[in-house]
């Protein structure tokens, strides 16, 4: 395994929210202490339900947003908010593909313009002909046809648009690609086309992927490592096979059993999670999962479990399949 291209330690992002007209401010801990590494040629998947902080994490890694605390380094360089010049060089190294291919392409720009814009903005020294040549090359690389170059996004289907979005992200030759639910808006038959494209591109350019998804069956196929998040905190983290085959945190286990499997012969008894997801404004004291957990004890309700050490880490006092 090669050296990590991005490493983050104890990354946090808190938002101040005013409650009411005269009320004080409330702190939303959208992301509360995530540590991970991205390695070239490997895919790290972030899994969780709504409000778990996946999108906040994506925004931090793409430098759209800045962390409240914690450090992260890209390619050996510390990221300091407000450091304009270094930002620009670093920004080119991290690109993003969004969930909704219908909203992520500017409807007034042709495909060619969309692809050339990143070069125009970041590499003004490249000549216009060279820009166009590279953009046309990229169009073919993602499996579109040369005549698509001058068309507008509305002429394309969802899957083709997602190819265009991937192409745009690759124009600056990034080293990290953040994939924010890239296939969840696509139909099943198109989803596999886009996933295959992403696999090929990763092999070709040795890209590090941060793959954000709520669909565990896609993650199981696509990822190398997995972080499971719940209400802003990672609860389990490790290599894909270990997490999927031997889940230690009860939430991971419940999530796995709740995911429908396309195999009627394996209709299993699901673990029924009681209750709703708490609001991120009002995270329970102690372990965030304790109100829904079937193993919760007094300890869970009062103390917050820390992440364990090792390659397969989890934050639970009473892990599954463990010595408890």
């Amino acid at each position: 395994m090669s050296a990590p291209i991005l490493s983050a330690t104890d990354l946090r992002r808190h938002f101040e929210v005013k409650s009411g007209l005269f009320g004080g401010t409330n702190t939303v801990r959208a992301l509360d202490g995530a540590s991970f590494e991205l390695v070239p040629g490997r895919t790290l998947a972030v899994v969780g339900e709504s409000g778990c902080g996946k999108s906040t994490l994506a925004n931090l890694v793409t430098m759209i947003d800045t962390p409240t605390s914690g450090t992260f380094t890209i390619d050996g360089q510390d990221i300091q908010p407000g450091d304009e010049l270094k930002d620009k060089v670093l920004r080119a190294k991290v690109q993003i593909v969004f969930q909704n291919p219908y909203g992520s392409l500017n409807p007034r720009q042709t495909i060619g313009k969309i692809l050339m814009e990143p070069l125009l903005l970041n590499r003004p020294e490249i000549s216009a002909e060279e820009r166009e040549r590279r953009a046309r090359e990229m169009v073919e690389l993602v499996g579109l046809r040369p005549e698509h170059f001058n068309r507008y996004p509305h002429m394309f289907s969802g899957g083709q648009r997602q190819r265009i979005a991937v192409a745009r992200a690759l124009m600056l030759e990034p080293e990290i690609l953040v994939l924010d639910e890239p296939v969840s808006a696509l139909d099943l038959s198109i989803q596999s086309q886009v996933l295959n494209l992403l696999t090929d591109l990763q092999d070709k350019f040795n890209l590090a992927y941060l793959f954000i998804s709520h669909d565990l069956s896609v993650v199981r196929h696509f990822a190398d490592d997995v972080i499971v998040m719940y209400l802003g905190k990672p609860v389990e983290q490790g290599a894909k096979d270990e997490v999927f085959e031997n889940p230690r945190h009860p939430y991971t286990k419940a999530l796995l059993s709740a995911t429908p499997m396309a195999d009627p012969a394996r209709r299993q008894e699901r673990i029924k999670l009681e209750g709703e997801l708490p609001s991120p404004l009002n995270v329970p004291v102690g372990c965030a999962f304790n109100p829904r957990c079937w193993k919760a004890t007094e300890e869970c309700r009062n103390k917050r479990p820390d992440m364990s050490d090792g390659s397969h880490r989890f934050a639970c006092f009473h892990p599954e399949n463990g010595d408890n």
Partner: protein
Amino acid sequence: MSEATANLPQPPSPLREFWSYFRENRGAVIGMYVFMVFFIVALIAPLIAPYTPHEQFRDHLLQPPFWQEGGSTEFLLGTDPLGRDMLSRLLHGARFSFFIGVIVVSIASFFGVIIGVISGFAPKWMDTLIMRLMDIILSFPSLLLALVLVAILGPSLINAMIAIALVLQPHFVRLTRAAVISERTKDYVTAAKVAGAGRLRTMFVTVLPNCLAPIIVQAALSFSTAILDAAALGFLGMGAQPPTPEWGTMLAEAREFILRAWWVVTLPGICILVSVLAINLMGDGLRDALDPKLKRS
């Protein structure tokens, strides 16, 4: 990597789709034709007018249109109290009205859109400042405000146009701001930022072109408001000054003859009515065709 699709027939271009929606509204199509006639007349008025608008025929004062007793085909629509040919004056009046519409809408939309975009992207305090200022302008009756401005600047056609543009501009600001705020959270704007687009580029190159549809509709409707307000100012003696053949001014000049010679008042009035109605109909059609919310599947 397999190719994504064969070269399949494509859906129709946005322009054709726009036209097919626009065509459904018959009023809008009629309005558009009237507007085009209006435009052509304004363009070639000196060529088709039988006389110049200022030429006075002292022997033919207040001559009625040709179909009435006492009229002649020499002056098809009669003459005014100074013996000037009504038809020529009305044709030239179209030029002024069109000119007013174009200039006023250009000034109002140019500044309105810029302020609107800035307000949409600005920090909260600046946004509040701009919008409250616009609210203040909007809270005056528009004609009254225009009158005050003209009174300060001095009565002339140019000053009237500036005043009307100022009064119309808040509508553009509000509309642009609303459109910008709904567009700026979309993913393609974030994508442009990740690609390294600066603030100005995001504002005017990325976001603005996607906000144009409601602005175009507002511009069309403001065109008619501009003509109407200019005519009103002219009628009150604060706009174009006699002997300019502007429709509102013509109305004002002929006020005292309203009982004796109906044509000197009615004809400019009809011109104002028809042109404003046509533009409003066309504007409604534009809105129906451009507004995605009203689009049928």
